[in-house]
Amino acid sequence: MAVLYSKEKDGSLKELTRTEVVLNSLNPKWITKYTMTYYFETVQNLVFRVYDIDTQFHNQDVKMLKLEEQDFLGEASCTLAQIVTKSDRALIMDLVCGEQSSSQARAPKFGKLTVFAEESISSKTTVELKLRCSELESKDLFSKSDPFLVVSKTTESGMVVPICKTEVINNDHSPSWKPMILNIQQIGSKENPLIIECYDFNSNGKHSLIGKIQKSLLDLEKLHSARIGANLFIPTATGPKQENKVLKSQLFVESYSEKVQYTFLDYLASGYELNFMVAIDFTASNGNPRLPDSLHYIDPSGRPNAYQRAILDVGEVLQFYDTDKRFPAWGFGARPIDGPVSHCFNLNGSSTYCEVEGIQGIMMAYVSALHNVSLAGPTLFGPVITSAAHIASQSLTNNERKYFVLLIITDGVITDLQETKDALVQAADLPLSILIVGVGGADFKEMEILDADKGDRLESTTGRVAVRDIVQFVPLRDVQNGDVSVVQSLLAELPSQLLEYMRFRKIQPTS
């Protein structure tokens, strides 16, 4: 019998499932499946333990078995990411027995364990819906309403989360919107109720509700096949008693289709990698690295500073998606000994190559660079973004299946906002995403501009506009508390950015 555990952050093991007992076999094949959610942005550690169950316990329920009464045959551990990045989604591991540490050069053989993972089909399914309304009421005084729809889901805790929004159709009381695409996994299931609200667009941002309706995807599918409409209603009474007034207005489902789309894991399985790159801010505003109040201060106790924290948090997740684990690493805004200020120097000090080995390599190069350069300024992003874009272009020329992720860690305000925009607009057409982590207490207004999902698409000096948003920004203010969730939210969007790039170019995850 095998037992699956997840290893929690504090190192404790939590039992997830037990397999069935395979009788009298030295090469057992278990069929028990366990369904768990894959989170790209966290390291999901798994531990597998294999036991020999004595004959006397064979007619007991596996859940009731006391593991300490059984013979322990060995254990194996891995991360979920290690399994899903294998092209056949199967990971083969050596079993080791408790006290033998992995440091022992020749551990006696305890057999091998193969773990297989597959993605459940519901997470790949998307629904395309085309909605229209009839006989909407006028909310504008002198003209017809300018309606648009917002689709929201209710979470288990009762919170209403908007997931999709249509375009605004001007002056129309029988509007028909462009198709919207919903992911079933995002919604939870086809039975989950969705709230569809129709608003009248107001340029001041105070959109007025025309009517709403609550339907699950299943209901919407039925509306479509029956070709009937459903009446919208509007909450009328204010106060404790919520009453709904049913309106004449109706919602129709013009088309409904389900489609299985390629997922992030499909691209990984077909050999795509995420390649991690890092760029570190060495401007003087960080403070003298020898003083404890500096953002670059290396604590002798070993506690990581803000920069080290960010590298570790992002790196520990991304390293599993990069097979050679050779990471380009740069610094910017510093003056090497006897040189002018450089806005993109190799962190390893080399004149010929920018790569370092592993996350540990980045950490070592970072510390040695601190000893070798004097902090200066100004803060320019253009050169490092251009260097990263260059590597991404080169990889395309070599026909490699790579998607690049540049992590920029900075403490301050950039001086080359327009140059940075120019570089980003060009880079948006490449297999590249940029994560910016802001450390320290500066005002990060510009970073919010670069992170285009809060505003307009970036525009270059020549009038070129970014085809997609490739920047994610997050301030890492409270490092002391090890605010990991901040970094996780930064990483969480990467899979969808990769998918956006692939779908744009109609690249399929075939070999």
Partner: protein, 198 residues
């Protein structure tokens, strides 16, 4: 493809005009219907290409139409002109000038499918919507054997910003593309200002 004299003096571009966004008529009303795109190679008027009209799309027209445009080698940009047909005649909504350097040169494969979006500007130079299209250079010259060099080889030990690199692309036209080198003057006397935030 047979290397003819014409192919060396002009680039054949396969352009898929995808869509327009937020097109306004006279800077106020959204364009109602019948928007189309005129593609012209710099200055020359003869070899223009035109998409069909989008009768329904209004101010967010969708064309998804593939056109082949010959662009003279010396041309520095391509002009995309969005027009619309109304009862009063054909009006220009906005123009985008696309620098040739945005899809040639650089470190990308010559036949890379570029997805490009540009800001449109009306006759008075005011912003008026965005045009989205994809572009591929059809008759890409064969790549020269010396490739664009190792990706990493552009920084000297603890010295200055990236050293400009030669690109093998465009070697025929003698254009050398380099990564921007930030002038050393920027660093002048910076150390004295160390207390300031940059």
């Amino acid at each position: 493809m047979k290397p003819s004299s014409s192919s060396s003096s002009s680039r054949l571009l396969e352009i898929t005009v995808i869509s327009g966004e937020n097109l306004l008529d006279n800077r106020k009303q959204p364009v109602k219907k019948n928007a189309f795109v005129n593609i012209k190679a710099e200055s020359s008027t003869c070899n223009g290409q035109t998409t069909k009209m989008d009768k329904e799309g209004g101010s967010f027209p969708m064309w998804n139409e593939k056109l082949i445009v010959a662009l003279p080698m010396h041309a520095r940009h391509l002009t995309m002109e969005v027009q619309c047909k109304a009862s009063s005649g054909i009006k220009t909504v906005g123009i985008a000038k696309v620098p040739t350097s945005d899809f040639t040169g650089g470190f990308l494969p010559e036949d890379y499918l570029h997805f490009l979006s540009y800001r449109l500007r009306d006759g008075k130079g005011e912003k008026n919507g965005i045009i989205n299209f994809s572009l591929r250079v059809k008759n890409a010259p064969p790549q020269s054997s010396q490739s664009a060099g190792c990706a990493a080889a552009y920084s000297r030990q603890w010295t200055t910003a990236p050293v400009g690199m030669r690109s093998s692309y465009n070697s025929s036209s003698g254009v050398v593309t380099g990564i921007p080198v930030y002038p050393g003057s920027l660093s002048g006397n910076i150390t004295n200002l160390m207390v300031n935030k940059f």
